[in-house]
C-alpha cells in the first residue's frame, strides 16, 4: 500500500514536469512527509445511515492548513457539523477524526466551489472552545457560519437505523476581536445585533434595494453594509 502510494505521487511529479509545470522538486515529497503530521482517532460507523450529518455528503477533496502553517492538499475530507469534527479518509478505507488541535484551517472543494473553514475560539453554550467556522465573507468584517446540524427526532426510525440531521447554522460576524451572533441570515438579525446602527443600516438597505432571500444575498448585504458596521 505504502509503495503504491509512493509510486502514485511520483507519477504525479513526472506528469507535472512533463506538462511544463515549474520544477519544484520538493513539493510532492513534502506532501508525503507532511502526512506524518496528521494525528487523530480511528472512527467506525455504527452501521446506521446518516443523512445531513456531513456538510457535503460525499468525501470531497480538500486541503488542510496545520497549526504549524504547513499545508497538505489532496486529502479526502468530510466535515461533521453535528460534532464539529473534521474527518480524513486515509487509504480510501480508514476514517480518522483529525485532532482539532493540529488543524488551523481547511478547504473543501466541490463542483468548482471552495468552502473555507477556519478554527475560531467561539463561546457557544458554557465553554469557550475552538469551533470550525465557514468563512462566508472576508473583508474588514468577517461573516462566519458554524455549520451545526441537529438530529431530527421525528424522522428517527429505530428499525431502519436511519438518522436524519437538519441544518441549524449559527451565523456570526467578527469585527476586530468582537463576535456578534446573528439569529439567522436575515436583515432583521443584523438590526438586532447592531441596534445602535439600525437607522443607518436601514437607510443603506433601502438606498441599495437590498433584499435577502438566501445566504448569497446575505453575504452581499454584509458587504454593502461593511463600512457602517465598522463605525
Amino acid at each position: 500500500m505504502k509503495k503504491l502510494f509512493l509510486i502514485s505521487i511520483l507519477l504525479v511529479a513526472s506528469f507535472c514536469s512533463y506538462a511544463g509545470i515549474t520544477y519544484a522538486p520538493d513539493t510532492v515529497q513534502s506532501r508525503f512527509f507532511l502526512l506524518e503530521r496528521l494525528t487523530g482517532t480511528k472512527y467506525m460507523d455504527a452501521g446506521h445511515r446518516n443523512e445531513g450529518l456531513y456538510f457535503i455528503e460525499e468525501w470531497t477533496p480538500g486541503r488542510i492548513i496545520l497549526e504549524s502553517g504547513e499545508e497538505i492538499d489532496n486529502l479526502s475530507l468530510h466535515y461533521n457539523g453535528f460534532q464539529d469534527q473534521l474527518l480524513w479518509l486515509k487509504d480510501r478505507t480508514v476514517q480518522i477524526i483529525l485532532d482539532k488541535n493540529i488543524v488551523s484551517e481547511f478547504f473543501l472543494m466541490k463542483s468548482g466551489v471552495t468552502y473555507h473553514f477556519k478554527k475560531y475560539k467561539i463561546k457557544l453554550a458554557k465553554d469557550n472552545r475552538d469551533t470550525y467556522c465557514q468563512e462566508l465573507y472576508e473583508g474588514k468584517v468577517k461573516l462566519l457560519v458554524i455549520r451545526k446540524c441537529k438530529l431530527d427526532s421525528d424522522a428517527f426510525n429505530e428499525e431502519m437505523l436511519y438518522y436524519i440531521y437538519v441544518p441549524r447554522p449559527v451565523y456570526c460576524m467578527l469585527i476586530g476581536d468582537k463576535i456578534y451572533f446573528l439569529k439567522n441570515a436575515r436583515i432583521r438579525s443584523i438590526y438586532n445585533a447592531f441596534p445602535g446602527k439600525k437607522d443607518s443600516l436601514r437607510q443603506r438597505i433601502r438606498q441599495q434595494h437590498l433584499k435577502v432571500k438566501n445566504e448569497k444575498d446575505f453575504i452581499a448585504t454584509i458587504h454593502a453594509l461593511e463600512d457602517i458596521l465598522l463605525l
Binding site: P25, T39, G40, K42, E67, G69, I96
Partner: protein, 594 residues
Amino acid sequence: MLYISFCLLNAFVNIPLVAQNSPRSAQSTNRGLSCPESAYVHTDRDLYVAGENMFFKMYVTPARTLNAGTTSSVGYMVLRNQKSNILNLILRLNEGSSFGCVYLPDTLKSGVYELVAFTNFMRNYGENIFFRKELLIVNRFDKLLDNLYKTDSADNKQRQRQRQITESPVLNASANLFKLVPEKDSFATREKIRIAIIWSSNKTNHQAVHASLSVKAMNPLTRIPLEPIPVYTDTAEAKMGMNALPDQYLYLAEEKGIYLKGQVKSIDNKPVKDECLFISTIDTAANLQYSFTNDSGNFQFLLDNYYLGKNIVLKSWKNEPNIGDNKIELEDKFALHNAFIPHLPYISINLKKYIYNSQEITQIRKSYHTSENTIDTSLSKNHRIIFPYLYFNPDAVVYPANFMALDNFKEINANLLPGSALRRSKDIYTIFLFDNLTKGMFTRPAPIFLDGVFIDNANPLISLNSDDIEKIELCKSVRVKGELEFPGLVSVITKKHINDYNRYKSSALIVRIDNFSDKVLYTSPAYDKEGSASRMPDFRQLLYWNPEITLKQGEKSYFEFFSSDNLGEYLVEIRGFNSDGIPVSAYSKIKIYR
C-alpha cells in the same frame, strides 16, 4: 504494471525525480542536468585574527538556465582546515538568503581555511558545485606564521588539478548596475562617512537587488577589481559532480525544513527494508515522528522544528516487542569528501606588517571588550514551534500520588489503570489496552512512552513506584499518526523526568540535532550624538557591514557610518543578486587619515 509504467514515464521526462524507494534509478536521471541552485557567501573580510567575529551573508539563487524559483529554505556552511571541519552552520534561508556571524575560536592555528556553502539539493550534483572561498586566519599570538610558509609540491599538483575542475564551469555574470560613490575620498578618524548608490541608468525598475555591503581595511591580499561572483550554468559541472556522487543517497530540496537521513543495517551489514523508525525526545508529553526505510535501508525525516537544538532518541518500532540488533547510521551533511588543498598566500613584508597590526588591534579590542559591542542579536526571532503531540485528550489520566502508595508498576497497573493489562512473555513486559470502540482488548501491545520517549516494552517501568510516577495517560482507541495506527497508547511521566538519555542508550541511537544559526547584525559606534564620544579605543578594521540591503533600480539610497582610529585605505564593497538571480557587485575606495 504500474511500476513499469512509472519507470517508463520517468525515463521519458528525464527529470531528477526524488524518491525514497528508488534512489538509484532516480539518481541516474540527474546526469547531465544543471543544478537548479547555486550558493554564494559574501563575508565581511578575507583575513581574520582568531578571536574575531566573521560576519557573512549566504545567497542561494536559482540557476539562470532554469526558469525555476529557489526551492531550498535551508543552507549549510562549513569552515574547515585541511584536517577537519571547524564550524558547521545551518542557516534558515528567507527568500534565498540568510546572514549571521560566527566567532572564530581563539585557539585556531594560523592558516588558510576554506568556507564551503551548499544546500542539500546541491549535493546531488557533487561537491564541485559547492561555493568555496579561502580565508586567511591568523592566531593572535602567532608571530612566526610558520604554517603559512609550509608548502608541498604534491599538494601543489593536486591543487592545480582541483582548480581546473572547480573553476571550469563558472560563468562571470556580474552586472554593473550601479556605482558606489563616497561623499569624498578621505575622511578623518571618527568622522561620518556617507556613501551613495548611483545607478547607471535613470530608468526606474521594479526589480529589487538584495545585497550586502562591507567597508573593510584593505590588505595586501585584497584583489581589485573584485573577483566576480561565480554562477553555475554549464552542464559540465553536473556531469563531473555526478561521477563523484555517493551511490546510496539522494538529496531532497529542503523547501519545508531539514531532512534527517540515515540507513538501517543488520548485524551482517545488510540494509534493512521496511523498518519503521521513531524519533522522540524527553519531554512532559509523548512526542513522535516516524519514517520507513526503503529497499536500500535508507530513511529520512522531514524534521519537525521542535526537535532542533535537542537530543533525540532514534529507534526502530516493531509490532513485536523484541529489541532489534539493527544498526542505525545517520548521514552527516557536513561531511565533505573533496580534500581541501589550500592556496598559501605569498607572505610579503607588507602582508606580515598588516597581520602583526591586526593581531595587535585584536589584542586591544579583546582587552577593552569592544568586539562584543559590534554584535546585535535582536533579529534572532523565535520561530513558532509546534509540539509534535501524539494525542491531545487522553481517555484516562492517573496520578498515583493521589492513591495509596504502591511499590511497583505491576501493582499500579493492576489497581489504578482501568482497561490495562500488563503481560509478560520471555521476560518482556507489554501492556494491552481495552479498545473503547470495539469494546474488546486490542490484540497488539500498546506503544509505551516514558517521559515523552518511545520505549520498546514495559520493562523500564516495572521498577517505578507511586513516588516515581507523576502521571500515567492512556489512550484507549486506535490512535493514528499519518500512516501509522497504534492500538492505544500509554504515556508515563516520571516526577524527575531529568534529561537522562542514558536510560535509552541500550536500544536506540541518541543524537544532538543542530539548530539554525541566529541572525546577527553588525553595529558600529556613532560619534555624532551627545555623550557618545567614547574614550574607548576604536581600531575597527571593519567599519560597516550591512547584510540586509534592498535596492530598487533608479531609487536613491545611501549609507552612513563612522570611521575608526585605524588609518589606511578601505574597500567599500557591495555584492548581491537581483530578482532574476543575476549577480551584482560594485566597489569603491576611501582613506582614513589622522
